[in-house]
């Protein structure tokens, strides 16, 4: 089996949001929407901090779809639009999506966006990778682990774009892959482990 995943080195992340913008350019993400966000750990504002002045620390936390093995979004989807593919990615069949947004309520990572209106692309036309399907009004969308790129054998855009080289992409089912070795050696963890979602996206320091 193949289980594609990303591991993120939080010591390297400088919070520049390049992953957010390059994901947007790759995937034709509409105005006002992000598939990939950079949060600050334990803070409710962007670019926040922990502690009391002047004893303050701060860790950035890039969050997108966690591509869970036990994906809550998939379990609640009434039409099978959200599915787990043969490479371990959580994907959406936009033709089957009826816009009920059960998946959005179920996802504990707030990874999904919904096209409430006909999506607006800044400067007026579609852009991004030509293979990426265009999402219409009324469907949910989220990180696809750059399905089109990874199908071609390329790495996801957020991995190759990161100026800090904070991301590793690979196959969790291959014990010798860089990502599997890193997760093992750097004691990587996943977000909200108690939810039982078993995410594929890992974090380490």
């Amino acid at each position: 089996m193949t289980r594609l995943a990303i591991a993120i080195n939080l010591d390297r992340c400088v919070g520049c949001h390049t992953c957010a913008l390059s994901c947007k350019m790759q995937n034709n993400v509409p105005e006002g929407m992000l598939w990939n966000r950079v949060l600050t750990e334990d803070c409710d504002v962007m670019d926040g901090a922990l502690g009391t002045y002047p004893n303050v620390t701060r860790t950035f936390l890039p969050v997108a779809c966690q591509h869970c093995q036990n994906a809550a979004c998939q379990r609640v989807c009434p039409t099978g639009a959200t599915y787990k593919d043969d490479k371990g990615r959580v994907e959406i069949d936009y033709d089957k999506c009826i816009g009920c947004r059960m998946c959005m309520a179920a996802c504990p990572y707030n990874a999904r966006n919904f096209n409430w209106q006909t999506p607006v692309r800044v400067t007026g036309a579609n852009y991004g990778d030509a293979e990426v399907p265009v999402r219409p009004k009324g469907v949910a969308e989220k990180c696809t682990l750059c399905k089109e790129r990874t199908d071609r054998g390329e790495e996801p855009m957020c991995v190759v774009c990161c100026p800090a080289h904070a991301r590793i992409f690979g196959d969790l089912d291959d014990p010798d892959s860089e990502i599997s070795q890193t997760i093992l050696n750097r004691k990587a963890w996943t977000l909200l482990e108690g939810q039982g979602t078993r995410p594929s996206v890992h974090y380490f320091e």
Partner: protein
């Protein structure tokens, strides 16, 4: 599956080109664009091979947003002529011939009536590291223009380095990677994780240095001395020592008191390599009481001992913290001490900059592996020369920051104001050619005062603006010409001065000349023809392509056949940096054989030229040693005056100065916010995301607040670059949140530099009328308030 809806033809008719993110951030990141008919469809960056020291020039979030920026509704598409009052932004379209005929006539008339010194090409950095301005070349062919020297980046630090080390410090610091050989890294007002985001630039190289040091079992600790917490010092083992803006020299004096009185200063180093530290090292004729040691111990003219308690009152940093820092610094095997450009961008910035360097000297952390000079990390010389602009036949020049005074005061501007090449300005500035610059208002200072100067058509009689966007500065042009962006045209681009590699990119055009835009070179050449100097303008190279050929022949790859082949085949070539890695290592090894280019050949803690100036005018706010001098808008004044907050205008992620600041997509991920400490926020009842008015005697602006413990109480920080947006014939309240609405244009006494971080303000809630206006703007999605 829904596919390609709205794509008229997929990728048909599109093509892939190399380009660069060509704005003034220090980097020059490679962009791989797929574009069609002037529209970017897809963006990728440098994905070439990487090896140690040869990092990919990966673009940051701004480069990735190039589509949104260059496709902005603010884009200039046709020549315009002003119809309303100057600065009103009222224009009518005109033809290129009309525009160029009028400009040529005005240049001819101005030169005839006032002389070439009346023509100014002000400080402008939006086209940078790719070319000199063709308009500078034009004016040099037409008898010259009033010169400018220095910059808005680091005038005071350059002066400080010149005084201490005999060079401007740009290319003489240590590499950031040298920090991996230190056990303590001290940053004064430096934030490479934010200001140097490009893949080959500081953020990544610092992270690599950290990992290398940790791998070798000697992780270093970062201490950031800064009014706001540096992103480079947010780790568990790091420390942040907050000090009030502009008080770095007082902090250093307090540290020096501990080092000296506890016998921790490296006196052997100071005696061998420096002059001015103590009585034994003073130049002939200078009294021992004027040495730095005497100043610190209270044996100088002021008789005040610079104890940590003294420094604590000024800096706002507890004395115990100053003392513990001094001891930690002295105990470090190797300390890498570095400053950013924030501390020096103050009214007494030369003193701050020199004092920070002094910490390297007092502890002997100088010229050795793992150390730095205390100045900024080393910048990198471009691989290619700029487009040659020729020699300026006019040898009169003014400091870059003083252009508005040259317009306002004309011949009253003298050598003591920094005029070079003449005792006074031979002529007032009567004509401005502003190419790719937003420093007429937005990125200059005191926008409201500068507006008065520019709006008075009896002062500067004609302004030409050439740019890609209708910036606030362009609104003051009498004729506006739409340029093709550097990221849209054929040009050879060198890696930037903060990129730790040697790179060249063959950038190719992709349709930016859409609408009625024209490339600045062709425009300048047309003007040259009208002015009868086309032959001189085209000497050596009549097209930009020929010019690039010349530049490549003069580049550092000129004799490297393999690199040239790679460049021809791939359109990009990148090599590791080669050269010195430690600041002043040769001088440290052999101070007699490799003296510094200072008058004494040593490090000059005591500046004799300043001592002479002071002897002539004791009232000058300068000092021959790196002593602390209180600024009129400094920490002390904030405590007693009507404006209790010190405001610093730092860099942000959302824009490179004002470039990209109009891109809503970037504001989504990095909204521009005024950082306010929770203590101040509670007292003023401010909440994160709420609106506030920032004001002083110079003006008032509206911005949104971020309540954060990452800033000192009594200090607020607003990222600079926001686009000024005010009714200049009404209340002048700046809804754009441009930091320079409230900043001062009073130049520093020593180097005539820009003091943007010496700025006192107060915060107040919006009035009911202002709140209603804010709601209107928000509903309309207009400007900064809506972000």
């Amino acid at each position: 599956m829904v596919r390609r809806e709205g794509w008229s033809s997929g990728r048909d008719g599109s093509r892939e080109v190399w380009q660069t993110c060509a704005v003034n951030c220090g980097s020059r990141c490679a962009l791989r664009l797929r574009a069609r008919e002037g529209e970017i469809l897809w963006t990728e960056t440098d994905c070439g091979d990487e090896e140690p020291g040869n990092l990919q020039m990966r673009a940051c979030l701004r480069g990735r947003a190039l589509r949104y920026w260059l496709g902005s509704p603010d884009r200039l598409n046709e020549p315009l002529r002003r119809v309303g009052p100057r600065g009103s932004g009222q224009f009518e379209p005109i033809s290129w011939d009309e525009a160029l005929d009028e400009i040529a006539e005005r240049i001819r008339d101005t030169v005839a009536q006032w002389g070439n010194e009346a023509v100014l090409l002000p400080y402008a950095t939006a086209i940078w590291s790719g070319s000199g301005s063709p308009f500078e070349r034009l004016m040099n062919c037409y008898g010259g223009h009033l010169g400018i020297y220095g910059d808005y980046s680091c005038m005071q630090l350059q002066t400080a380095c010149m005084s201490l080390y005999g060079d401007d410090g740009y290319y003489t610091g240590s590499l950031l990677s040298e920090a991996s050989h230190a056990d303590l890294v001290v940053f004064f007002g430096a934030n490479p994780a934010l200001t140097r985001m490009g893949g080959a630039s500081g953020a990544h190289r610092l992270a690599q240095a950290r990992e290398e040091a940790a791998r070798e079992g000697r992780p270093f600790r970062v201490i950031a001395i800064d009014p706001c917490q540096s992103d480079a010092a947010t780790g568990e083992s790091d420390a942040w020592i907050p000090v009030r803006p502009g008080t770095d020299a007082a902090f250093v004096a307090g540290v020096a008191w501990v080092l000296i009185t506890e016998g921790l200063a490296d006196e052997e180093f100071l005696h061998r390599y420096c002059i001015g530290y103590d009585g034994a090292t003073m130049p002939a004729g200078a009294p021992a009481s004027e040495s730095y040691r005497a100043y610190v111990l209270g044996e100088g003219p002021d008789g005040v001992a610079k104890t940590p308690q003294w420094a604590a009152r000024i800096t706002g940093c507890p004395s115990a913290r100053i003392a513990s820092f001094a001891r930690e610094l002295a105990g470090a095997r190797r300390a890498f001490i570095m400053q950013g450009w924030g501390p020096q961008r103050t009214a007494l910035g030369e003193q701050s900059a020199r004092a920070i360097c002094l910490l390297s000297l007092l502890t002997g952390n100088f010229g050795l592996p793992g150390t730095n000079s205390g100045a900024r990390e080393r910048l990198f010389r471009p691989v290619l020369p700029d487009d040659p602009v020729g020699e300026n036949p006019v040898d009169v020049a003014i400091p870059a920051f003083l252009w508005s005074r040259a317009v306002e005061r004309g011949r009253a501007l003298t050598a003591s104001d920094g005029v070079r090449g003449a005792a006074r300005l031979p002529s007032p500035v009567k004509l401005i050619i502003n190419h790719a610059g937003n420093a007429l208002t937005n990125q200059h200072a005191d926008v409201n005062r500068t507006h008065e100067i520019l709006a008075d058509e009896s002062l500067c009689e004609f302004i030409v603006g050439i740019d890609v966007m209708m910036t606030d500065s362009m609104r003051y042009a009498d004729i506006v010409l739409p340029d093709v962006a550097q990221a849209e045209r054929d040009v050879l681009v060198s890696s930037g001065n903060s990129d730790g590699v040697r790179g060249v990119i063959v950038a190719a055009s992709w349709g930016g000349n859409a609408f009625d835009r024209r490339c600045a070179w062709d425009v300048a050449r047309d003007l040259a023809r009208r002015l009868g100097v086309e032959e001189a303008f085209c000497e050596g190279a009549s097209t930009l392509g020929e010019m690039d050929g010349l530049r490549l022949r003069e580049s550092r790859f000129a004799h490297d056949d393999e690199a040239l082949r790679e460049l021809a085949e791939r359109g990009i070539v990148r090599r590791p940096y080669e050269g010195e890695t430690v600041a002043y290592a040769a001088f440290r090894r052999d101070p007699e054989g490799c003296p510094l280019p200072t008058p004494s050949g040593k490090i000059e803690i005591y500046d004799q030229k300043i001592a002479e100036l002071l002897a002539a005018d004791p009232g000058l706010p300068v000092s021959s040693i790196p002593a602390y001098i209180a600024a009129p808008e400094g920490a002390e004044a904030a405590l007693v005056g009507p404006y209790p907050f010190q405001m610093i205008s730092c860099h942000g992620r959302q824009s490179a100065h004002s470039s990209f600041a109009n891109v809503p997509e970037l504001a989504v991920v990095a909204p521009r916010r005024l950082s306010v400490n929770p203590v101040d926020a509670e007292r003023l009842q401010l909440v994160s995301g709420g609106l506030v008015v920032v004001e002083n005697d110079r003006g008032a602006l509206v911005c949104r607040v971020r309540v954060t413990p990452r800033i000192m109480p009594g200090v607020v920080a607003l990222p600079e670059g926001a686009w000024h947006d005010a009714d200049m014939w009404g209340d002048r309240l700046d809804w754009g949140g441009c930091a320079n609405t409230v900043s001062s244009d009073e130049p520093t006494a020593w180097s005539h530099g820009n003091p943007h971080n010496s700025c006192l303000v107060r915060l107040r809630p919006l009035t009911d009328a202002e709140r209603a206006e804010a709601a209107r703007r928000e509903a309309a999605g207009r400007g900064e308030v809506a972000r």
